[in-house]
């Protein structure tokens, strides 16, 4: 009878061999699965990705065209509606143009200032036009403006009346600041004159809206 220890020593190499075989099999299987995944990734990146991107881009284009079509259809309807409405008020175009002209119309601007004061018997002494576009602050989108400094002598009440008349003018005028000063001659102390006249000085911005074609 052989001792159990010698039996074990005989079987051990066999078990070792079997275990190694099993490990090898497992290793090969893992390598195979890894390779499959890597191949899938490679194939997806270089073959499926461009196709999917192209399909998505085409779908996006189709969707965007659908949106554009619907929006433009709606816009065209609104344009037709606006066309009808504007043809009805075309005779009032001069009102809009006198309020916000497409050209500076300096003479018209000065006419508004001079005529307003002349209506109350006041003669405008000085009109100074400032056409520097950098000096003016922009109040409305796409509009341009020029400023006019006006100076005249009148009674305080007439001065106020002229300013309020100007604010009620059809042309868009923005009066930035107004100063009332007593008349001051060379040999006289600054006191209100006998006539009660004061020197009125104010700066006003006149707006105009150049046509879209002009800007291009």
């Amino acid at each position: 009878m052989t001792p159990p220890s010698s039996q074990t020593s005989k079987l051990r190499p066999l078990f070792d061999y079997l275990r190694k075989q099993q490990e090898n099999k497992k290793f090969l299987k893992t390598i195979e699965i890894s390779g499959t995944f890597l191949l899938i990734a490679f194939f997806s990146y270089f073959a499926i990705r461009p196709t999917v991107i192209t399909i998505s881009a085409l779908n996006g284009d189709i969707e965007s065209k659908k949106i554009l079509k619907n929006e433009l259809k709606e816009k065209i309807n609104k344009v037709i509606e606006a066309q009808d409405l504007y043809s009805q008020v075309q005779e009032k175009y001069y009102v809009v143009n006198s309020s916000l002209p497409d050209m500076p119309k300096y003479y018209d601007a000065s006419l508004q200032l001079v005529e307003t004061s002349q209506k109350l018997g006041v003669v405008t002494d000085d009109l100074t036009f400032n056409l520097d576009p950098n000096a003016q602050k922009k109040a409305l989108v796409d509009t341009k403006s020029f400023s006019v400094n006006t100076m005249f002598k009148s009674s305080f009440n007439n001065g106020l009346k002229i300013v309020s008349d100007l604010l009620n003018n059809r042309r868009i005028i923005n009066i930035n600041g107004i100063t009332f000063a007593v008349e001051n001659t060379k040999n006289q102390i600054a006191t209100p004159s006998a006539s009660g006249n004061v020197v009125v000085n104010f700066s006003s911005l006149f707006y105009f809206w150049p046509s879209q074609n002009e800007k291009k």
Partner: protein, 72 residues
Amino acid sequence: MKKNKYSNYLLIISIFTCITVFFIIIQSSYIKLMKPITDVKQSVIIRPIDPSLDLETLSEIEKRNYYDNPTQ
């Protein structure tokens, strides 16, 4: 034993590579799908217009003072 350890790492890396590639494909296709739609929505051409005309303001403007240029 060492061989098996490395093969396991390789398996994990390949699985994550596959998942990453999958997400890259989804992300780039989503960008391609949405780009033309957002471009159209932001374009000036579909900016809404209001066809209504404020006639009340127009008549109010007409009532205001205006001195016409006699040369015109």
